[in-house]
């Protein structure tokens, strides 16, 4: 179980990963349905580190949409299903900081049952697992493009995972890094916030897109596909930004172009 040693900013203490230990692969619902390439790149990255990957087919969602909307009783049902599904695994790895934060930080609010809390505390975000747990700093990728990085707010502030995606990105050969101005500010996705407070969400998203266009990157990568879904939607709407692509960080960490 991963232990919280400081809460603001969060600092975690990880158990030791024993070589050959299988990880339960957690592919969040929207990645499964709309962005399977991110999931497949995740599998590839883990296998290259000789980590056996198992994908429990019973899995659905972490419960975050209902939790963030205030419907905790409904979220609890889904959280319990998640825990039943992943209980056999000591390590649960997923390519989404936001869903990881739901499991690790928020499960205990939905359901204080120690079993639920303990299983939630086994969930690790992909880049965090690679860098903080396995000690990987270079995945051997080559990606000759102009790339900017966006770190989702749950990844950044609930998990405190900022260095791992940065470290891995910097290791990529021939990559031209363009820093996103004001990169700490939220992109405005916020789950159901994006439709409940659509005007405000869009105003925040437009700022992000303006900054992205300003920094000159052709590709925006992130450990958070949910933010990218919102940013990509905005980019595609405007002919001036349609050329900018969005990709999960894992996809360029396995690239060899």
């Amino acid at each position: 179980m991963i232990k919280l040693t400081n809460h603001s900013p969060p600092v975690w203490e990880y158990p030791k990963y024993e070589p050959g230990e299988p990880v339960g692969l957690f592919i969040p619902c929207y990645i499964d349905q709309f962005f399977p390439a991110s999931g497949e790149a995740t599998v590839e990255l883990l296998r290259r580190q000789n980590v056996p990957v198992e994908y429990p087919k019973e899995q659905t969602c972490c419960g975050q949409p209902a939790f963030n909307s205030g419907y905790w009783d409904e979220a609890r049902r889904v959280v319990r299903h998640f825990c039943d599904t992943f209980e056999p695994y000591r390590w649960i790895v997923g390519p989404s900081g936001s869903c990881t934060a739901m499991c690790r930080v928020f499960f205990e609010q939905v359901d204080p049952d120690p079993r639920i809390v303990e299983i939630g505390r086994r969930v690790v975000e992909l880049t965090e697992f690679l860098v903080n747990v396995l000690g990987v700093t270079d995945t051997g990728a080559r990606y000759p493009h102009k790339v900017a990085l966006h770190i989702g707010c749950h990844t950044r502030r609930e998990l405190g995972v900022v260095d791992p995606p940065m470290t891995l990105l910097r290791s990529i050969r021939d990559l031209e890094y363009h820093e996103l101005p004001n990169m700490e500010e939220c992109c405005g996705f916020g789950g159901t916030f994006s439709v409940k407070m659509a005007g405000t969400s869009l105003a925040m998203g437009r700022t992000k897109v303006e900054n992205l266009a300003k920094c000159g990157a052709d590709v925006l990568v992130s450990p958070d596909t949910s933010c990218l879904m919102h940013i990509e939607g905005l980019l595609r709407r405007d002919p001036a930004t349609r050329h900018i692509q969005t990709k999960h960080l894992a996809e360029i960490l396995v690239a060899d172009e």
Partner: protein, 465 residues
């Protein structure tokens, strides 16, 4: 932004929260808050003990909030031995009655006020006007807002929405001064008009930043000297404070002063820090301690921490939503993330249940909070309560929607059926002439994601065979 002076309390709340989802957009507000947030972050980064200060302040406040009964009594005992009268008010109406009573007892006609957020909660200026007493704001920002007949947009910098040009026009219009947009000339005008008022006033009203139980001291921080004058020049001084302002010991004060100046305005220390132990000789002093819904926040162990707030405004400056919607959109005295967690507790979820939803839950507020209030987590918790308790967001339709969602996410076959329907829906959406509800809210400014041929699980099954 429109003139809102005619709106009071809950009426104001009801009419304004529409601005949370459709921001009016003020570029200047966004830029100035972003600038000040950055300044504070950079300053904090140079202080190795910053996180320790935050933790210490958090613990002191948690202790104080848990021992209010004892600490308030101790504070009262220690300040009243020096002739200060301490009064308690359960709500805004009672507090107004007390202030009016004091004013009438001393034959007060004119009041000067330094900054007090509690008086905004009470709408004290209106209450005094009703009994023929004039109240004048002396904090420059509050003065401008009062002249303009508006409400503050920010708890620390109330006139953040006004440009120098706006101020020049306001002075020309209301004070018959020649127009100028030059900063020094503007402050000189304000100073000239205000100076006379301190001498003419019969009573001064102030807020309280910290009330020290051990010594019976009230601490007031400010930058303009107006609080010093308002509390000492007139014959009567009334200090207004919420019950949560008390801290146990005088040695606890420095950590808060260190955090408050830096978090609020990026200053190492505010220009003035007043420690008031009693009335100026020959004058009279009162302290009114107000509950006004605070014990509601205290009653729930999960929300109690909100009472640790020291009103620095840092969460406002760091909030991407506040930056775009401005202070008035929150509909009451306290805007921004802290407003979204305390307003529902002070005025009730039935009036302010919508506020906790005005957040993307990015957590920039909690990261900036000098007393480590987990504001983002509080917001989600209050959403949970707003969905259950009487509130403008509680809806049977939405509950049913989430119930069916929970059912469909509790097994792989149901998940497959639901998601297949979603995929078909997303594919067909582009053929619809009009997008209803949430779909429309998404597509009014964004494209829907492209639907790939296969899902991850489909490919996995195929490849792992």
């Amino acid at each position: 932004m429109s003139d809102t002076s005619h709106l009071h309390g809950a009426e104001f709340l009801k009419s304004q929260t529409a601005g949370l989802s459709e921001p009016a957009g003020s570029k200047a507000l966004g830029e100035s808050t972003e600038r000040s947030a950055k300044q504070v972050r950079e300053m904090a980064a140079t202080i190795p003990q910053w996180q320790d200060w935050r933790e210490a302040a958090h613990r002191i406040k948690r202790y104080a909030v848990a021992h209010l009964d004892k600490l308030l009594a101790e504070f009262e005992r220690n300040i009243s031995v020096r002739g200060v009268t301490v009064l308690y008010a359960a709500d805004a109406a009672e507090a107004n009655r007390l202030v009016i009573q004091i004013a009438q007892e001393h034959g007060v006609k004119r009041v000067v006020k330094s900054k007090t957020m509690v008086s905004e909660e009470m709408e004290l200026n209106h209450a005094l006007a009703d009994v023929g007493v004039t109240a004048l704001e002396t904090d420059l920002g509050e003065y401008l807002v009062q002249l303009a007949g508006q409400r503050p947009t920010h708890i620390v910098t109330p006139a953040l929405h006004l440009s120098a040009e706006d101020c020049g026009r306001l002075f020309a219009d209301k004070l018959d001064e020649p127009y100028t947009a030059e900063h020094k000339a503007l402050t000189d005008i304000a100073r000239r008009h205000l100076r006379e008022e301190y001498l003419r006033a019969d009573m001064g009203v102030s807020g309280v930043n910290f009330a020290v139980a051990e010594t019976g001291t009230i601490a007031i921080v400010e930058n303009e000297g107006n609080a010093g004058l308002s509390t000492s020049a007139p014959p009567v001084h009334v200090a207004l404070m919420g019950i949560e302002k008390v801290i146990p010991r005088i040695e606890h004060l420095p950590v808060f002063l260190n955090l408050l100046g830096r978090s609020g305005t990026g200053q190492k220390l505010t220009s003035y820090t007043h420690l008031i132990h009693g009335a100026t000789p020959g004058k009279k002093m009162y302290v009114i301690i107000l509950d006004n819904g605070r014990t509601r926040a205290l009653a729930d162990p999960k929300t109690r921490v909100a009472l640790a707030c020291i009103r620095c405004g840092s969460c406002l400056n760091n909030c991407p939503v506040y930056r775009r919607v401005g202070g008035w959109a929150y509909g009451w005295v306290y805007p921004g993330p802290i407003g979204s967690i305390i307003t529902p507790q002070l005025v009730g979820l039935e009036k302010a249940g919508k506020l906790p939803f005005a957040s993307s839950l990015c957590g920039a507020c909690a990261e900036a909070c000098p007393v480590k209030i987990d504001i983002a987590h509080q917001l989600v918790y209050l959403r949970h309560r707003a969905a259950k308790e009487p509130s403008p967001v509680r809806s049977m339709a939405e509950r049913l929607m989430w119930k069916s969602w929970a059912w469909s996410m509790s097994g792989p076959l149901r998940y497959w059926l639901t998601m297949t329907a979603v995929r078909i829906g997303v594919r067909l959406a582009k053929f619809l002439p009009w997008h209803p509800l949430q779909l429309g809210a998404w597509t009014r400014g964004r494209e829907l994601p492209r639907v790939p041929k296969a899902t991850f699980r489909g490919n996995w099954r195929h490849n792992e065979k």
